[in-house]
């Protein structure tokens, strides 16, 4: 019985439910944090320590902080949204379809593990050294492209945040 997995799986699911269900925005952010931490733990369990570290750093550390900043800037606590809901039917359809999606995906991926099989893990699998090796040797182009992407994001963010002259 893999307690590790089950604990953190429940934690992730609970956090997700928390996130999408509260009216106030701050509890939702906390729920999201829970999900992020659970993910990091699961990554550790899956022989991906570097990915786990990155998860905590980037998601829990950067992204979530940005979200909290925005919450702080934009929303007063307990603020109720006043306008009445207009597209109830479409949203209900969306919800129903999501349930359908779960069922379909679940059914579709049933028994996938047996079909795909599994392999033996090598020593030091997922270690930073190995990961860096693969990153720089096989995925060097993707790496460079992502850096350009980040540059674009940087420029865009500066432009958006700039005050109008």
């Amino acid at each position: 019985m893999d307690w590790y997995f089950w604990i953190f799986a429940i934690m992730a699911l609970g956090g997700a439910l928390f996130t999408i269900s509260y009216k106030d925005i701050l509890p939702c952010a906390m729920g999201l944090l829970t999900v992020f931490i659970a993910m990091a733990a699961l990554y550790l369990h899956l022989n991906a320590p570097l990915v786990a570290v990155f998860q905590v750093t980037i998601y829990a550390g950067a992204i979530l902080v940005l979200v909290l900043f925005v919450v702080m800037l934009l929303m007063s606590p307990g603020e109720k949204i006043k306008k009445a809901q207009v597209n109830c039917a479409n949203r209900f359809m969306g919800a129903v379809l999501t349930v359908g999606l779960v069922l379909l995906l679940g059914l579709g991926t049933k028994g996938l593990s047996e079909v795909l099989g599994s392999r033996e893990l090598s020593e030091n699998f997922g270690s930073p050294g190995q990961l860096g090796d693969v990153l720089v040797k096989k995925f060097i182009l993707h790496f460079e492209v992502v850096s350009v992407l980040l540059l674009a994001a940087l420029v865009g963010a500066i432009y958006l945040a700039k005050k109008r002259i």
Binding site: L97, L101, L104
Partner: protein, 663 residues
């Protein structure tokens, strides 16, 4: 010279282009010079070619000039080629010669008109197309000319288009002509289907060959059909019953146009066509009979209308219809050369008559009503003398031209080989018509030139003889009316005049090679009786007597007892008078029978079929429907992102379900 035949149509074409494109900027003298010289040059080339033709052996008198291959589509090949043989030689001389005289006349008549250049351009175009028609070596080139002269006729009838009636008359002429052309086209199709070609050199030998081999019976239905369809075209072009109705209205055009187109040349195109197709008509006696009967009916019918018309040009118009009837009688009773002979003499005297009437109208300041005329003989001597000579010719008084041609036709009708009994009937109708012709023509002379002047005083002051540009052509045509008949003196008279060296029938012997096959077939298949000379002389004398009787009656009514007799007769026979005066109400009958139904039908097609069904339901309807549906459907985009997301998810779920279910 054969290689230069194309110059005959080319000169008028160049004249048309120059006058049409540049005429507005050239002065009137330049325009008249271009116009007249082009036709004059064509006449010169025609004379030279004719001369060349005469040098050839009588059996092989043909000059052929093939210009280029017009179309070669599968089994169908047509060349643009011109043929000058005896028949087209006579025709082309008449067309270009009389045309040239009328061009000269027009320089005087149309002198004050501002669209002078347009007139000469159209007139040259007409001569060009007429030359195409006459010189064509196959039916298609003839048809080009056929249609082209119809177009020129429309343009020239409606020349003063600012007046509504003129435009309407032009339109009527064109539409009625087109009905005939439709028949002609069907005849051509049938001819191609039967003989595989439209060239004279293919169709006629093939027809003869098929007849001699026994493949083609006399009176075969397909031959009768071809001949009748071609004749439908001829009724349209040459104003026979039932398509003659455009010719009286065509008098709305300038008088020289009436002279050239509607007397001398265009309306004779039908006669030329039948004469050219003589082999086909001889092989289909039923068709020939139909032609002759319709022609006889037309001759008589039109003559009766002519006796009561008051417009000088209308009288001449109905006279033309009537005389065309005589020509068709000639070619209908297989006396082809006689029909062509009458065509030639008619061109001379009818053109002279029209030009003289133009002179009179000119002097009367545009008034055409004979009731306002009278006593013009003293004021316009040249016009009077020439018109009198032409009228004597048309009445059939020997030794002027009309006597010989008309008499030949009537004699040949009397001795019609295929249907002797019908021939006698046709002769009777023709003779009666000849008497009526003499009557109404002299009525015209007496009302116009004799008696007291009945017009207004300003008109009386204005009366004058026409300038030389107008009177010289009149004199030339009058001389031709007198002497033209001497080309076709019948054997009887030729023998009688000189026993030892009989005067030959020049025209008949000249044209004989063109018609010899027909003569042979008629001799083979017709019932040839031998008629005595005494009968021929007495018939000849009878027709002269009838003509003199007509003149005498006209003299009696319109000179001696003019003041009360015509009016009294009109009152006494009021119903007949109204009927004949209103042209037997034929125009009205056509209007209610054909024009109005077609008008309402086209109104229906326009308003209901086109505007409603096709436009509203067919074209705009689906567009409106699509618009409505799309506007409705686009409301699915309500602007909310979650709706869009929901629909995207819908698509995704559907696809997943499909693929998972499929597996």
């Amino acid at each position: 010279m054969a290689d230069y035949l194309y110059l005959i149509p080319l000169f008028p074409l160049i004249g048309f282009l120059i006058n049409g494109l540049l005429g507005k900027k050239m002065g009137k003298p330049m325009v008249s010079m271009v116009g007249c010289l082009s036709v004059g040059a064509a006449f010169l080339v025609a004379l030279l070619s004719f001369n060349e033709l005469l040098k050839l052996d009588p059996e092989h008198r043909q000059l052929i000039n093939t210009l280029w291959t017009w179309m070669a589509v599968g089994a169908f090949q047509v060349d643009v080629s011109l043929l000058l043989d005896q028949l087209s030689g006579v025709m082309i001389l008449v067309v270009t010669g009389v045309g040239f005289l009328i061009h000269i006349y027009s320089t005087g008549y149309m002198h004050e008109d501002e669209s002078y250049w347009r007139y000469f351009a159209y007139l040259n175009m007409f001569v060009f197309f007429m030359c195409c028609l006459v010189l064509g070596a196959n039916y298609l080139v003839m048809f080009v000319g056929w249609e082209g002269v119809g177009l020129a006729s429309y343009l020239l009838i409606g020349f003063w288009y600012q007046g509504m009636e003129n435009a309407v008359a032009g339109k009527k002429a064109f539409v009625v002509n087109r009905i005939g052309d439709f028949g002609f086209a069907l005849g051509m199709f049938l001819m191609f289907w039967t003989f595989g070609s439209l060239s004279y050199f293919d169709v006629f030998p093939k027809a003869l060959h098929m007849f001699e081999q026994g493949h083609l019976m006399l009176n075969a239905p397909v031959m009768v059909a071809i001949c009748l369809l071609l004749f439908v075209g001829a009724t349209g072009k040459s104003a026979q019953i039932p398509l003659y109705v455009w010719l009286p209205d065509a008098m709305a055009g300038p008088t020289p146009v009436s002279a050239l187109i509607h007397a001398a040349t265009m309306v004779t195109a039908g006669v030329y066509m039948v004469a050219r197709s003589n082999v086909l008509y001889t092989l289909a006696p039923t068709a020939s009979l139909v032609v002759a009967l319709i022609a006889a009916a037309t001759a008589l019918f039109a003559a009766t209308i002519g006796i009561l018309q008051n417009d000088i040009k209308k009288v001449l118009a109905y006279s033309t219809v009537s005389q065309l009837g005589y020509m068709f009688i000639g070619v209908g009773v297989t006396a082809y050369w006689a029909g062509i002979f009458h065509l030639m003499t008619h061109a001379f005297f009818k053109a002279c008559l029209f030009l003289c009437s133009g002179s009179v109208i000119h002097a009367m300041g545009g008034d055409q009503d004979m009731r306002n005329m009278g006593g013009l003989a003293k004021k316009m001597p040249i016009t009077y003398v020439t018109m009198l000579l032409a009228t004597l010719a048309i009445a059939g008084i020997p030794p002027l031209a009309g006597f010989f041609s008309k008499d030949e036709i009537l004699w040949r009708a009397f001795t019609y080989p295929y249907f002797p009994v019908m021939g006698k009937i046709i002769w009777f109708m023709g003779t009666l018509g000849a008497g009526i012709t003499a009557f109404y023509m002299f009525r015209l002379i007496f009302m116009t030139f004799h008696g007291e002047f009945r017009g207004t005083p300003e008109q009386a002051r204005h009366l004058h003889e026409s300038p030389p540009s107008m009177t010289v052509p009149l004199i030339i045509l009058a001389v031709l009316s007198v002497t033209g008949g001497w080309l076709g003196i019948p054997h009887l008279i030729g023998h009688a005049l000189n026993h030892h060296a009989p005067i030959p029938n020049l025209l008949e012997t000249f044209l004989n090679p063109v018609f010899e096959h027909s003569e042979r077939i008629v001799a083979l298949k017709g019932k040839i009786y031998h008629y005595s000379h005494w009968l021929e002389w007495s018939l000849m004398g009878l027709s002269v007597a009838v003509a003199l009787g007509g003149i005498a009656m006209a003299f009696h009514i319109y000179i001696r007892r003019y003041h009360e007799l015509p009016a009294r007769l009109a009152r006494k026979y009021a119903i007949h008078y109204q009927l004949v005066y209103n042209k037997y109400y034929v125009d009205e009958i056509y209007y209610y029978l054909f024009v109005l139904p077609i008008y309402y039908f086209s109104l229906f097609l326009w308003k209901i079929v086109d505007a409603l069904c096709i436009d509203r339901v067919g074209v705009n309807g689906p567009a409106w429907l699509v618009r409505r549906i799309s506007v409705g459907t686009s409301l699915i985009h309500d602007g909310y992102m979650q709706t869009y997301g929901a629909y995207m998810l819908l698509g995704l779920v559907a696809m997943l379900a499909f693929f998972l279910g499929y597996r």
